[in-house]
């Protein structure tokens, strides 16, 4: 692969990771607010229900996602694995933003 192409791919990947990190961080911050806990206590890859989220608090999070990113996850056909952790949720938000 030519070196120019390699550096372009790296740049795209780097930007994507940065955006993903930002989204994860924003979602984590909001979940911490909803649960009244420190954001540092939350892990990115554990199921949301084990953190203490229930229906009411999940919907508060979905309201945040709609307001912040303009994405209506409530009405989408998201499966459990698409939204079950902070990382999965951030990935889904990014995918839907770019769709």
């Amino acid at each position: 692969m030519p070196s120019k192409m390699r550096s372009m791919n790296f740049s795209v990947q780097f930007q994507g990771t940065g955006v993903m990190d930002k989204t994860e961080s924003e979602l984590k911050g909001r979940i911490a607010e909803i649960l009244s806990v420190n954001a540092e206590e939350l892990k990115h890859d554990v199921p949301l229900h084990t953190m203490g989220l229930d229906s009411m608090r999940m919907v508060e999070l979905l309201v945040f996602i709609e307001t912040k990113y303009g994405i209506d996850l409530m009405a989408s056909d998201m499966q459990r694995e698409d939204i079950a952790s902070i990382t999965a949720l951030a990935r889904s938000v990014e995918r839907m933003k770019s769709a």
Binding site: I34, V37, L53, D54, V59, V63, M74, A75, M78
Partner: protein, 430 residues
Amino acid sequence: MTKRAPIYLDGLDWMIHTMCRMTMRNTGGVGNASQIVLQLDGKMDAGSFAASVQAFAAELPVLNGRLSRDRFFRPIWRMPRNLSVPSIRVEVHEVADAAVFQTLETLVNTPFEPGEYVVFHLVYPSAGDCLLTMVFDHRLLDARGAEQFLLLLNRFIAGGTKPEELDAMPEPQNPEWRREIREGFASARCVGETVNRNVIGSGMIRVDEKGKARGNPGHFRLRTLNEDETRTWQKRVDRDAGYLMFMPYALASACNAFSQIKAVKGRGGSFIVPSTTDLRGTTFSWKNTFFNYCSLFFFKINTGLLSDRSELIAHLKTQFFNQTKAGFPQCFQRFMGLTRGVPIRLFQLMNRYNKASFSVGIVGSSLFEGGAFGGLGIKNLFHLPLIPPQVGIGFFFSQINGRLNMGVSWREGSLTEGDVNAVENALYEF
């Protein structure tokens, strides 16, 4: 005993107080009571348990309080000036196995004695083991608060909490009345819009007209799912409503069950459904044990939606989302704060129109998850709430140790035996 300063009641407490008075007038003495039942895997000793309860109650003068008004006519929970130790009755019942559930019904339909808000019963079935039940008045405890109260008692019995460390007494606050009144008026628009959209002119369907008759007791039907059945039900929640969407799915299940009642079948109109939600934060605090932290959502379901399961669930999810986005439960709490200045008789008149098709209460996972009580294992824990006659029928859901309890509560005369069987099966099979 410390902290005897009066406690100011908020709008939700005031609503419960007025509803309780109306219910007592209607039933001839029984107010808005509920019951938590712990099915234990051994026999609790009545004598030592009663002694522990009395020692525990001595730390909680709030149990000796009563409704009063301060000099500005604001409702308060006033505790007696003279030092007196609250007393909580502990009664023992030895019953045949077949009569256990009927006994539980009788206990929650028995009026409290004056100034009494909590009573314990130890029910010993002939086959062995024991049921510990706590009947409580909603003026002092809501469902989650009652579980916290039991959890606190359990720690006290186990010796993990010393009396001086017991700090569940609510703080006597100094409310900022002007700010609360401003916030109440600011919330009126949100409350008015939702009530206007979901209640007024809705062609509400009700079936409990006979159940409103004076003195009609409340009845219950409870179904405890085993772990496999619970997993299957939960999989359907994930598949059909989505991850963490238990509440809209349970509501849809309740709508479907209600539509199985003979008097409802084929009727056009709407179901108006208040559903309780807990406004406590996720950070646990003993200070949130007493009084009410439950607000409401109001759902409206046109009967035309009942034939399309996915449409019904989607419709409920949309309403759930919109009301959460508008902050309706919090607005409702702030708005109800304004009613504290309304004389109780006038508020009761206003409440006369406060009707619903049925109500839904979801307690969620029990605080006793994986735990024990008084050194005995907990086989099951369930709530049996009396439904106010203004509502007539209620559905309730709670979970413990991977098992779902689902139940229906109704006033005598509003459902036939056939209706109850149909409702129970519809709830389970949805």
